[in-house]
Amino acid sequence: MSYKTQAALWLLQRASAAVLGVCVVVHLFTIIYAVRGGLTSAEILERTRGSVGWFAFYSLFVLAVTIHVPIGLRSICTEWLHWRGRSRDFALLLFAAFVAWAGMHAVLAVYI
């Protein structure tokens, strides 16, 4: 892997972390607010259904997670599992695609 690609991955990881920093703070406040008095589907859907603001927020959240998680797992595969090369990167690309698909599937499920 070239230094250029390594630098790009490092930058992408930090940029996505900065976005996630904001998203996670909002998410934690929402979680603590939402679980008071028990978690119900109706309460969640009342907040998210038809809300363009929440849809945009969670879409950005999923995009940042899709970038951030595979790059983080890449370091762990390399350092802790000694898994390198194309097979690792291909597996992580598949994982990224799955996260993006499942994430947007979930976002749409609470929006529509």
């Binding site: 920093g21 996670v24 979930a106 499920a109």
Partner: protein
């Protein structure tokens, strides 16, 4: 080295990251499907414990990530030595707030 706060900050950041990566597919699957049904199963004590652990992992990973960003992008100051403690305090604070709300 293993006595050092920075080492533990690294371990907590990494282990919480792995936990969150493993939880993510489950979270999306639950959101996409289970919202049509009841969420009464989330009242089970073991589920609540799991929820609590994952929320603390999220807060710990956030704290650890902010620590890394502050170390890498801000000019060095003495207070940056205390960032590992600040990250821990954030995780404990969020854990307590979530436990009180449960």
């Amino acid at each position: 080295m293993r006595q050092h706060a920075s080492y533990w900050a690294f371990v907590v950041h990494r282990v919480s990251g792995i936990a969150l990566a493993l939880f993510l597919p489950l979270h999306f699957w639950t959101l996409a499907g289970a919202l049509e049904g009841s969420l009464a199963w989330t009242e089970a004590p073991l589920v609540k414990l799991g929820e609590w652990l994952i929320v603390v992992a999220l807060a710990a990973h956030l704290g650890g990530g902010l620590r890394v960003l502050a170390l890498e992008f801000l000019p060095w100051r003495d207070w940056q030595k205390s960032l590992a403690a600040a990250a821990g305090a954030l995780a404990v604070g969020v854990g307590l707030a979530f436990a009180l709300a449960l």
